[in-house]
């Protein structure tokens, strides 16, 4: 360093720089022109990098949406098979009592099997018969029973009835099973495909809107599984989350923004909030497992525990958003209220909070949307169980939409792939709705002070 400096000094002394006229740059020289060209090429390249980065991100989004949409849209329809059912009184109500209790216990499964055998009389082998029964879903008998319970006059008649088909036939009808591949490597054998073709030529195969998907709980049979149970579970979980995290979050934000003195406690709280916002969600699951289940013995798999866990996770989001909203209320409003003799609490509750409410609500909705999409911590507290019944309250065992997606994604049946994608579409629809509401609130109540 000193060498260089002294060298420079020598040079400076020798040349008496200040007297020297700097030689002007010839901006039209070929060297400079080449250089300019190179620089603009670099500029273009750089811009292309930027554009392609955004392109990559948008492409990923598009592929994600497309792969889910294209896999999932078929789940909203379900294949039905029309069979001629003989409502044999001997099977349903042998004594002609008309008692619903007797009818309810009848073997409707048998009626369907008989109808199938009647349609395909040449099936005699026991294994073939079992395959044949797979054409119709195991759940079809419940539908049939309900139909008869509603309308007992059917007993003794023979009617053509649309019955929900088994999942493999549904897949075949939707084109997911290729009849041209080798018999050994597909889910249906040649005979089964033959029956399907025969039913199609009868006009007895049809796709109908699959309302059951929206109204029923989980099931081992893909064609019977629905998201209603998970949706209700999500609802209860979010309800608990909201009831805990909203008041606590707002009160904490008000305190930190309006009342808290600058002391050790406040600093610790602020550091904690920032750190909690970054703790991996699964750690909250471990907390829930240990504290709520092992120490407090709250019921496993219940929305109330899920809600308690998610409330802790959303708390930082709500507190941070609420603080920002409260901070945005200009001090002049507070001064005006205080000047009129309002107490600090009155100033906050009468003036600051109402003005900050749109911002607080926006933050809360975004927090709830995050909670709705959260999966990992709920796995820890047992909301991953297989639950068929629709939960009736926050203490019943339940699952939630994202966990339902996780469970279905793990199921081996091909038909669950479309169910999973469809459930994702429903979940995303809710999320878009919530975020849209948040954006709308922000736009509507946006205020420039």
């Amino acid at each position: 360093m000193t060498d260089m400096a002294s060298l420079m000094e020598d040079r400076a002394a020798a040349k008496v720089i200040s007297d020297k006229v700097q030689k002007p740059v010839d901006w039209d020289s070929p060297k400079i022109a080449r250089n300019i060209k190179k620089r603009y090429a670099a500029e273009r390249r750089f811009k292309i990098y930027g554009l392609s980065a955004i392109g990559v991100a948008l492409l990923a989004l598009f592929v994600l949406a497309f792969s889910i949409g294209s896999k999932g849209y078929t789940a909203f329809f379900q294949t039905y098979v029309q069979l001629e059912i003989n409502f044999d009184p001997a099977e349903i109500d042998p004594n002609g009592t008309g008692d619903p209790a007797v009818i309810g216990k009848a073997n409707f499964d048998d009626l369907i099997k008989k109808a199938l055998l009647a349609r395909f009389p040449d099936v005699t082998d026991r294994r073939d018969k079992r395959d044949l029964y797979g054409v119709v879903s195991g759940g079809a008998s419940y539908d049939l029973r309900e139909r008869v319970m509603e309308n007992p006059n059917l007993i003794g008649q023979t009617r053509k009835i649309w019955l929900i088909s088994g999942d493999d036939f549904d897949m075949l009808n939707k084109g997911y099973i290729d009849a041209n591949v080798d018999e050994g490597s597909r889910r249906l054998n040649d005979k089964e495909i033959g029956w399907y073709d025969a039913l199609v030529s009868d006009g007895a195969v049809e796709k109908k809107f699959h309302s059951r998907f929206f109204t029923s709980g989980d099931s081992r049979e893909p064609e019977l599984a629905g998201i209603w149970g998970a949706a209700v579970g999500s609802f209860y979980t979010l309800l608990v989350t909201l009831f805990l995290s909203f008041p606590i979050g707002v009160l904490a934000a008000v305190y930190l923004e309006e009342f808290a003195p600058k002391n050790r406690f406040t600093t610790i709280v602020e550091v904690n909030i920032n750190n909690l916002a970054a703790v991996p969600s699964i750690v909250f699951g471990l907390l829930g497992l240990e504290v709520y289940l092992n120490v407090m013995h709250l019921p496993r798999s219940a929305p109330v525990v899920g809600g308690l866990t998610l409330a802790l996770m959303t708390l930082p989001t709500i507190i941070i958003a609420s603080r920002a909203a409260i901070k945005a209320v200009p001090p002049s409003i507070r001064q005006a209220a205080l000047g009129l003799g309002a107490s600090p609490v009155q100033t906050v509750t009468h003036h600051v909070l109402p003005l900050a409410m749109p911002g607080i609500l926006t933050g809360t909705i975004i927090g709830m949307a995050q909670a709705l999409g959260e999966t990992a911590p709920l796995l820890m507290i047992g909301m991953v169980a297989f639950i068929v019944d629709i939960p009736g309250g926050a203490l019943d065992p339940a699952t939630v939409l994202p966990v339902q997606i996780y469970l279905w994604a793990d199921s081996p049946e091909r038909a669950f792939v479309e169910k999973t994608s469809a459930a994702i579409m429903v979940l995303l629809a809710f999320l878009i709705l919530m975020n849209g509401l948040a954006v709308y609130l922000r736009k509507k109540f946006e205020r420039k002070w």
């Binding site: 970054a278 699964i282 750690v283």
Partner: protein, 459 residues
């Protein structure tokens, strides 16, 4: 009586107390509110708070203690041959709770357990009834005390505000409480684990196979708890994710901030934000069902043997998930570089890219490093993508085409499904959770410090 009904009842009581408290204040004022110290509504709120708060506090305390106390009571009356063995005990407790819930008809258990089940059912009924009585008496006591105190001189507003202030402080303290809760619940179980397996073996061991055998004579009945393969797997997937997220996120931020027209920005920015809002379970499904088969098939074409649960698939998708995170953070950081620096560079005849590369980027570098560290911490803690798309086998490899497993995957696998508490296998999940918590916490604290320092520099 269900919980929600109980809460509704308390709310109704509060409303009633408010009404009567207010009425009494109005009566005392003799028609002129200025005779009172505070507004009648303050007196009402005062009584209502004294009605609701004791009840809720009692409910909270009761609920957090009831389970453990009842369990202790049940255990104390079980015969020693059951309580002596941890496995048997947890089995018995399971049966007992089933019997108490009325679902134990088919269980084949000793009569003591059946008795205990019935006792548990009785105890629960008694406890619930007792809780209601205690809650209600708390409410009534609070109401009667506060109602009697109402007088024109009572500083009701100040009292209400003091209670309000303490409620706010309590709510703020919940942030501390949850951190304490996390630390203690992890530490407690992790220490339990380390009493069985030495921390050195856990932190530096090279083999992970937590399956403890059911019978003692089986091979590897001890299980192996060397977590290094998990750390390596986590690191590998994180690095892959960062290779995607950092360049793409950074360049997106640069293009959005410096080149994009307002129209383009108005479309592209929300689209990027959608990526951030997609639940991780959806990314996991995408990784497992679209990306992994795609990589496998294309790898086969190229003659590469890509595992169907390759680290690459999970890492790539995780990278996509983190893109908006990196991009919005670095956008923040770069927009804080003062305009005068840009002007200085443009004034010398630099092009936009030269200005960005030579002036803005170096100036923003500390902030960007902080942003990347935050992104790393998020990648390490991400769970669903790896649970669904990465493997379970703890391979020690840095080959992205093979299956690896991560810390979060193991936590989920160890704790989902039936678990016996007290076994090293279950406890190891808490030890892993502790490591995860400490690492992400450290990264965050450090990154936030870096970003903070950077902000101060340009403020």
């Amino acid at each position: 009586m269900s919980l929600s009904f109980l809460l509704l009842a308390v709310a109704a009581l509060c409303a009633l107390s408010f009404y009567f408290g207010r009425q009494r204040a109005v009566a005392l004022s003799g028609g002129r509110y200025s005779n009172l110290h505070s507004l009648p509504a303050h007196y009402g709120t005062y009584v209502a708070l004294w009605c609701g708060l004791p009840a809720l506090l009692l409910l909270l305390v009761w609920h957090s203690l009831q389970g453990s106390i009842i369990q202790a009571m049940i255990i104390s009356e079980l015969p020693a041959e059951i309580t002596g063995d941890a496995g048997q005990l947890s089995l018995a407790l399971n049966s007992i709770s089933l019997i108490a819930a009325g679902n134990g008809q088919h269980l084949n258990v000793v009569p003591e357990v059946i008795d205990a089940g019935q006792r548990l059912a009785n105890l629960q009924t008694i406890a619930n009834a007792a809780m209601i009585v205690v809650m209600l008496s708390g409410s009534v006591l609070g109401v009667s005390l506060s109602y009697r105190k109402i007088s024109a001189e009572l500083r009701a507003r100040n009292n209400v505000e003091r209670i309000f202030r303490w409620m706010m402080i309590a709510c703020s303290a919940i942030a501390i409480l949850s951190t304490v809760g996390i630390v203690f619940s992890l530490l407690f179980e992790a220490l339990h684990f380390f009493s069985k397996i030495s921390p050195v073996e856990f932190l530096f061991g090279l083999e992970w196979s937590p399956q403890t055998a059911i019978r003692a004579d089986q091979v590897a009945s001890e299980g192996a708890f060397g977590a290094i393969p998990l750390f390596v797997g986590t690191l590998l997937i994180t690095i892959i994710a960062m290779c995607v997220a950092v360049p793409v996120g950074l360049f997106s931020a640069i293009y959005m901030g410096e080149y994009a027209s307002p129209k383009f920005r108005a479309v592209a920015k929300p689209a990027l934000e959608i990526l951030a809002g997609v639940p991780t379970v959806v990314y996991g499904f995408f990784a497992a069902l679209t990306v992994a088969p795609f990589l496998r098939n294309n790898g086969a074409v190229l003659g590469l043997d890509v595992s169907s649960e390759s680290a690459l698939a999970a890492g790539l998708v995780m990278g996509v998930m983190i893109i908006p995170f990196v991009s919005s953070l670095s956008d923040d950081v770069m927009s804080q570089v003062p305009k005068s620096l840009r002007d200085g560079s443009y004034g010398l005849g630099a092009t936009k890219s030269e200005t960005i590369r030579h002036v803005i980027f170096p100036a923003a570098l500390p902030g960007i490093v902080g942003a990347v560290l935050l992104a790393v911490s998020r990648a390490i803690g991400e769970t669903m993508i790896v649970v669904m798309a990465a493997g379970l086998a703890a391979n020690m490899t840095v080959n992205p085409l093979q299956a690896v497993t991560t810390v979060t995957v193991q936590i989920v696998t160890l704790l989902v499904g039936d678990q016996e508490f007290d076994s090293a296998k279950t406890l190891s999940a808490f030890a892993l959770g502790l490591v995860l918590f400490l690492v992400t916490l450290g990264l965050n604290v450090f990154a936030l410090k870096v970003v903070q320092k950077y902000r101060e520099k340009y403020d």
